[in-house]
Every structure is written in structure tokens, then in C-alpha cells.
């Protein structure tokens, strides 16, 4: 937002008249001390009246009944018994202003009113009202689903999660109603998606995590035995993101998004780092270091869990690209590779698309013995000469 603004022509005219006639005027304007904050002020008040307003507030009088702001159309079924917009009042040299606790919402109409009648001054017998709204931001396009991870059209029977990536920041609260998984018959498959206690958005509100019910993924457990696994090998399913998902400014998805996929055999083994293929770059180049995985890994976790370290540098700075359906990870350093010894380091929190970790598979029996926690390999050394 720019540092100031102009009023409409009508308001400018009224404002000019006000100066001529010295009548009180009700305006929407920026707070001079907080240029981002838009408030409502009454100006051109008689100095004598301002003094009495000051005395009134010092004696504990509240300006909330004198200068009020309300939402014009609340849509509230309970009717009119609603509080005014809450905010802070200031008595100024020639007026009084109100700044809302939270900024006025764009696109919503507000009504401000100034009612000086309780002060019983004959020249101030008029209630001033003003309806106003701040324009919505115009430029952004309606939201779309950019991508859904895992990218592959073939997903294992024990898939644990999807990431839905939107082009815009979205509003929470609609996931359960709008996102579903259609079974091979084209009807929504019941009890397949996990009802998380909190919708799992990232901070940008552009990336949503959808989990499949872990109770149905684990073999032999109650829901799995009763209902079977959420997905069945060889069948085709569709993840549907309904157009009722809305973005920050209330716009619906441009269209419902469908991700169709066919189910392949379950993957129930830990991530075998020792089976990764590594393509080291040439020393002194800026070429990427490439890792190839036999199975697709979790898109979001691939970024924070794999790092490159050397004897001189605990963590090399660079840029990661994940592609080939999350089976290839390429790392381009910010500075050319120096000769020396390096390590690809894998954090224990890395998972594949089924939630299998570096240490153990997601779905494993804990009754049959201890996990091989210590033997799992977590780094790949390489040397550049």
C-alpha cells in the first residue's frame, strides 16, 4: 500500500466545504503515526468541544457510544444485537479518531457514525454517518492446484500421504468437505482419509498434507482387517480437490482438480540408503551432485533431510531440485565444488511415500524383535579430486 491516499471527488468537495463552513466532517484516513493503519476520524470540531471531550474521557467517559463503526452486512442470523467494531480512540487537537483493533477488511462495507448529541450542544445536533469499504486487491488470479505429490500416476497400496500444492494461499476449514478419494467405481471411498485434529497446512497456506488413515494401512490391525487397506492393488483411484476450496480473498478454485492413479504393490521396507546411486560432480565445477533412489521418496522431506557436508564445512549451501517422480535429487552448490572429502548425510526423519524411514519400515511388527536402529546407514561418503 502507498503511504497515503486520496478521497473520492465527492468527499474532496465535502471536505472543502467543511473547511469553508467549519462543519465537523467524518472521514476515513490513515493513522499519521501508523501509516498502514486506516481509521475513522471526526475533524473540524470546535476546540471548545474537543476540550469537553477530553475532560469527558479523562473522567472515564467512553467514546464508544459517540464514534462507532459497525459492519454494514454481517450476515449474522442473530440480528442486530451485535457489538461495534473494537478499537482504540484518540482525542486530537480538532477532533477524535478511531483505529480498529484489526485492520478493516478489504471488500467489506463498514458504517461509521458520530453522534455528539449526548453533549447537548445546539450546533452539534446532527449525527454524521459514513459508509465505506476498502477495495479488494485486484491483480491475483483465481486459485488452482499446481501439483499433487507424489507425482507418479502409480502409487503403492500403502501410500501414507499426499501433498496438494495450490497457486494461492488458501483458507482453512474446508478440507473435510472438499477433498475426497474416489474409488474404482467413481464413488467416494469411505473412511480412507485421516481426519487430522488440525488441518495440516504449511505456513504459506499453499501446501496441504492429506494423510490416508494409518489404521487401515497397517496390516492385521483392526480397521485394516475390518475394512481392508484404503487402496487395493491394480485398481484406479482419483483424489479430488473440490472447487469449493477458496483462497485468501474468497475465490473458489478455477476448477475441481482430479489426480487419477493406479495402485501398485505395497512398499514395506526401510529406505535403503546403501542402494542409492550417486553421481558425483567434477571438482571445481558448479555441476549438480545427483542421487537416484530405487523408490520415490517423500517430496517435502527430501529438502530438509539430505545435506552435504565436508571436513571443512558442516553443511554446503546450494539449491535442490527434486524430479523424476521424486526419484532423483540434484544439488547445485552456490559456490564451485572444492576438492576434498564429502558426505551425503541423511537425517533419520526422511521417509518414502509410505512413511517408511531410514531406520525402519512404517508398518512392521514390533513384537518380533528389536529394530536394527544402529545398523542403518545414514551417510554416503564421496571424494572430489
Amino acid at each position: 500500500m502507498a503511504a497515503g491516499f486520496t478521497l473520492s471527488a465527492a468527499d474532496r468537495e465535502r471536505s472543502a466545504n467543511a473547511q469553508v463552513t467549519n462543519q465537523p466532517s467524518l472521514k476515513v484516513d490513515f493513522n499519521p503515526r501508523q501509516p498502514e493503519s486506516v481509521g475513522v476520524g471526526v475533524y473540524n470540531l470546535d476546540p471548545d468541544f474537543v476540550v469537553s471531550l477530553s475532560r469527558y474521557t479523562q473522567a472515564g467517559g467512553l467514546l464508544t457510544s459517540i464514534l462507532r463503526v459497525t459492519v454494514v452486512r454481517t450476515g449474522a442470523p442473530i440480528g442486530d444485537n451485535l457489538p461495534d467494531v473494537f478499537g482504540r480512540y484518540e482525542v486530537l487537537g480538532d477532533g477524535v479518531r478511531f483505529d480498529p483493533h484489526f485492520p478493516f477488511e478489504r471488500g467489506l462495507s463498514y458504517r461509521a457514525s458520530f453522534d455528539p448529541r449526548p453533549f447537548g450542544r445546539p450546533e452539534l445536533s446532527e449525527v454524521l454517518t459514513l459508509e465505506f469499504s476498502l477495495p479488494r486487491e485486484q491483480n491475483a488470479l483465481p486459485p488452482e492446484v499446481n501439483r499433487i505429490f507424489p507425482s507418479s500416476d502409480y502409487l503403492p497400496e500403502n501410500l501414507l500421504r499426499f501433498y496438494v500444492c495450490f497457486s494461492n494461499s488458501m483458507q482453512s476449514g474446508r478440507v473435510e468437505a472438499e477433498i475426497s478419494l474416489l474409488g474404482p467405481d467413481g464413488k467416494p471411498a469411505a473412511d480412507v482419509l485421516y481426519r487430522a485434529p488440525v488441518e495440516l497446512w504449511d505456513r504459506s497456506m499453499q501446501h496441504l498434507t492429506i494423510l490416508l488413515d494409518p489404521g487401515r494401512l497397517k496390516r492385521g490391525v483392526g480397521p485394516n482387517r475390518e475394512l481392508g487397506p484404503p487402496l487395493k492393488v491394480g485398481r484406479e483411484y482419483t483424489l479430488v480437490v473440490g472447487s469449493g476450496m477458496v483462497d485468501l480473498s474468497g475465490r473458489r478454485l478455477r476448477e475441481t482438480f482430479y489426480k487419477r492413479f493406479r495402485v501398485t504393490e505395497a512398499v514395506r521396507k526401510r529406505i535403503a540408503v546403501e542402494q542409492w546411486k550417486i553421481v558425483p560432480p567434477a571438482a571445481k565445477s558448479c555441476k549438480p551432485l545427483v542421487l537416484m533412489f530405487p523408490e520415490p521418496l517423500d517430496w517435502a522431506l527430501l529438502s530438509p533431510t539430505i545435506t552435504i557436508g565436508s571436513t571443512d564445512e558442516p553443511s554446503v549451501y546450494g539449491r535442490i531440485v527434486v524430479d523424476q517422480c521424486e526419484r532423483r535429487w540434484s544439488f547445485t552448490p552456490a559456490l564451485p565444488w572444492a576438492a576434498g572429502s564429502y558426505d551425503v548425510r541423511v537425517a533419520s526423519s526422511l521417509e518414502d511415500v509410505c512413511g517408511n524411514g531410514v531406520i525402519a519400515a512404517f508398518d512392521r511388527s514390533l513384537q518380533s524383535g528389536s529394530d536394527a536402529y544402529e545398523v542403518a546407514r545414514r551417510s554416503i561418503p564421496f571424494r572430489l579430486v
Binding site: 491516499f5 465535502r14 450476515g75 529438502s303 533431510t305
Partner: protein, 434 residues
């Protein structure tokens, strides 16, 4: 807020009405620079009304009027040491007729009133949690205006039926970060940030216990943090035997928790989705430990817990655990049984339950979105009005049955119907807080 002159706008003698469109161009700002404030009301220091909060989620009170606020977006737990001026005693508020199971609506149309207060429409209001400050019996609610990156958090309190915004700036404050950003210097082509959705915060004996679920890793992590906050933090992962699933549930997140001493030993009790009740000795929750809890109850499959709290039955004076559940009756279990209950056997057959303490649980007709205990006789709930679904109310609800007679369709509610519980004799016994 007072609205004493509600008729002013409508009856103005010659009210002027303009619709002003504000465009982002520079000009008038300069004309305002000469105005200096002479006095102010409801002053808050910063421009943003949310103080240090980036979001406002779960709430808990600690000792000395400290209000803890879980902040998912800010990846932190905040502690606000409320001052005497931030609290108003509500012990004179009429709560209803305890004998006759008649509560009162303390705030009607809560979401609509919050929307009006924060200058929005009620679809943009999200109520996350409610907690009662026991000494004053004042209700505190965490609220957000907006459902996206524009969401603005606030803490609102109820003062004799009116909603008041807790002015956070100026309240002595400290906070602790919940680690959720992995230490990585590499960047993804386009990034999704990890976030840790805090599901519960509880205080016990100089520490807070924080549970939650990550948007990336499906893991059950529990943070144990000293208060007053220091750099010290204990983080462990927990797992349980889940008889409904017939498996060790290695990753499921704890949804609600509380800490209680049973026979002098402190335990953390937790409920999970689908709904096992689990016991962890506090002493076992050590840093980097991987702890297996004992499942002591299966409250029933296919549901999610909403709130977990304890109350003392005013009739038998015993303490009970209360777990409210989204699609089932709330569960009532004697606290004395929590410590002594035999763990459900591990490695057994699948059991859809109820099991363990779930077999002897009392069922209570609570269908509230949030529940808190107000005093020994009364609870307070946020719930949809049963006959007018558009209304979200804060209402009192009589313990220990949590039954609201006004909502019932019983013959004894009719003016000349039978009166086996002597409702009419006690009709005038209105109780207040205190």
C-alpha cells in the same frame, strides 16, 4: 462494549451517507501530520492488535495467572502473566438452577458477536479453544479472524456476558520456540515449510507439556519445557499399544493430555484419535527417549477426542476424568482408577473396544465444541444451540451429569406434568459463581 446509543444512526436528523472508496494513491497523509493526540483510550502499544502472537490455538492457565497460548504459525508457546487489571471476577454471574439442571446462555451468537467485534463476517471467525481462569471464573477464548495467511489472532474474555479483547501489548510476556525447522542450508526448488500443529499444552509443577503433529512427518513427539522458560527442553517420542488397531501405534499424535498425581506419582494421561486412553509415568519422559505408554482404556473407535479435563463430583466428592469426543458421548472415568488400571495386554487380538477403563466409563451427553470446568458445580461449554443450529453459544452446564433440562423433551418439563425430581419446589434457586 457499551452501545448505549444504538438508535443514533437510524434516527439521525439528517444523516449524511456517503460510500467512500479509498484508492492507494498518495496525497492526504500529509494533511494529517499536524494532528497530535491529546488523549487516548484502550491504548495498545503496537500497531497490530495481536501482540507477540502469530496465531492463537490451545490455551492453558498456569500458576500466578499465567496464560499459555499455543501458537502454531509462530512455532511457539507464549506465556502471558496476566495482571490484576486483566482479570475481572465473574463470581456474581448467574449460572442457572443447579438443582433443576438448568444452565444459562452466557453469550448467545458467540461467533457472530466476535465477527462484529473484529470487523468481519462470521464465516471468517475461527474459535480454537476456551479456558477458565479458576480464581476469577473468567472465560478466555482463543480466536482468529481470517482462515489464511491473513489470519489475525486474539484472546477474548467474557465479562458479564460481554466480549472483551485481551490487550496483549503491555502484559508481561515470555515465549519458547517449538523446534520444527530442520537445520538445513539447502533450498528446495519451491519450498514447503514444516509446521508443528500444537494439539495441546498443559502446565504441571514448573513445566509445560506440548504435544502435536507435523505436516510432514507422521510422528508422535512430546516436548517437556521448564517454565519460566529457559533454553532447556526435553523432547521424546512416544508410542502405545493400540488394541483397536492390534498394533504398536508408533506414530499417532497425542490429541489431548493432562498430568495428574495418582498415589503421589505424577503421570501424563493422553488420548489419541480412535480413542485410546494412555498412561505414561512422568519420570519416563526423558530427553530423546522413545517411550511406550500403557493403554488403560479404549473409549471407542471411529472418533476423535475434543477435550480432556478433570472435575470433582459435587455429590460424591470424587475426582473424575472427562473426555469429550466428537461423534460419541463424553466419557467419565474415576481418576483413582487411572493410576491403578491394568494396562491392556500387548500382542493380543484386535479388540474394537470399549476396553479397559472404557468398559466401565460413564457416558455423558456433552456435544460441545469446547468444554471447561467453571467451578465445583458448573461447567461451561461452547456449543451450537440444539434447536437453532445457526447460533453458537457459551452456556453453563450443571455437573456432574452435564445435562441441560431445557433441551429435553420430557413430560416433566410441561407446566402440569409429573414432577418426580421436585423441579418446581426448587424453581427459584438460582446459583451464581463463587
Amino acid at each position: 462494549m457499551k452501545t448505549t446509543l444504538a438508535s443514533g444512526v437510524q434516527t439521525g436528523i439528517h444523516a449524511r451517507r456517503d460510500v467512500l472508496r479509498i484508492a492507494a494513491v498518495s496525497a492526504v497523509g500529509l494533511a494529517l501530520s499536524g494532528r497530535a493526540p491529546a488523549a487516548s483510550q484502550n491504548a495498545f502499544a503496537g500497531g497490530a492488535g495481536s501482540g507477540p502472537l502469530q496465531s492463537a490455538g490451545v490455551l492453558a492457565f498456569g500458576p500466578d495467572n499465567v496464560l499459555f497460548v499455543g501458537d502454531i504459525r509462530g512455532a511457539a508457546v507464549h506465556a502471558f502473566a496476566l495482571r490484576a487489571t486483566d482479570l475481572t471476577s465473574q463470581t456474581e454471574v448467574e449460572l442457572g438452577n443447579f438443582h433443576n439442571f438448568e444452565g444459562r446462555d452466557l453469550v448467545r451468537g458467540l461467533d457472530q458477536k466476535l465477527a462484529a467485534l473484529f470487523g468481519t463476517t462470521y464465516d471468517k471467525i475461527v474459535i480454537h479453544d476456551m479456558v477458565v481462569h479458576q480464581p476469577s471464573q473468567q472465560i478466555f477464548i482463543s480466536v482468529e479472524r481470517g482462515r489464511s495467511t491473513d489470519a489475525l489472532p486474539a484472546i477474548v474474555k467474557v465479562n458479564h456476558g460481554q466480549l472483551e479483547v485481551l490487550e496483549l501489548n503491555g502484559i508481561p510476556h515470555s515465549q519458547v520456540g517449538i523446534p520444527n525447522e530442520p537445520d538445513s542450508r539447502a533450498m528446495l526448488e519451491f519450498d514447503t515449510q514444516r509446521s508443528f500443529a500444537i494439539t495441546d499444552v498443559k502446565y504441571y509443577n514448573g513445566e509445560i507439556f506440548v504435544t502435536g503433529v507435523s505436516n510432514q512427518q507422521f510422528a508422535s513427539t512430546l516436548h517437556r519445557i521448564p517454565y519460566p522458560f529457559s533454553a532447556q527442553m526435553t523432547t521424546c517420542t512416544v508410542e502405545i499399544w493400540h488394541p483397536v488397531h492390534g498394533e504398536f501405534e508408533t506414530r499417532a499424535p497425542i490429541i489431548r493430555q493432562l498430568i495428574r498425581e495418582v498415589r503421589g506419582e505424577p503421570y501424563l494421561f493422553a488420548v489419541y484419535g480412535c480413542t485410546p486412553l494412555v498412561r505414561f509415568p512422568l519420570a519416563s519422559l526423558k530427553d530423546r527417549a522413545h517411550v511406550r505408554g500403557d493403554v488403560i482404556g479404549e473409549l471407542g473407535y471411529g472418533s476423535n477426542p475434543i477435550d480432556m479435563l478433570t472435575f470433582t463430583d459435587p455429590f460424591d466428592q470424587k475426582e473424575y476424568l472427562l473426555v469429550t469426543i466428537d461423534v460419541r458421548s463424553a466419557s467419565r472415568i474415576a481418576v483413582s482408577d487411572l493410576g491403578t488400571a491394568t494396562p491392556e495386554p500387548t500382542g493380543g487380538q484386535i479388540d474394537f473396544g470399549p476396553g479397559g477403563l472404557g468398559k466401565t466409563q460413564g457416558l455423558l451427553p456433552i456435544r460441545a465444541e469446547h468444554t471447561a470446568i467453571l467451578n465445583p458445580k458448573w461447567a461451561v461449554v461452547i456449543q451450537r444451540h440444539p434447536k437453532t443450529g445457526y447460533r453458537l453459544d457459551i452456556s453453563s452446564l450443571a455437573a456432574p451429569y452435564f445435562f441441560e433440562r431445557r433441551d429435553g423433551m420430557s413430560e416433566m418439563n410441561w407446566p402440569d406434568g409429573p414432577d418426580p425430581f421436585h423441579y418446581r419446589e426448587h424453581r427459584d434457586e438460582i446459583s451464581r459463581g463463587g
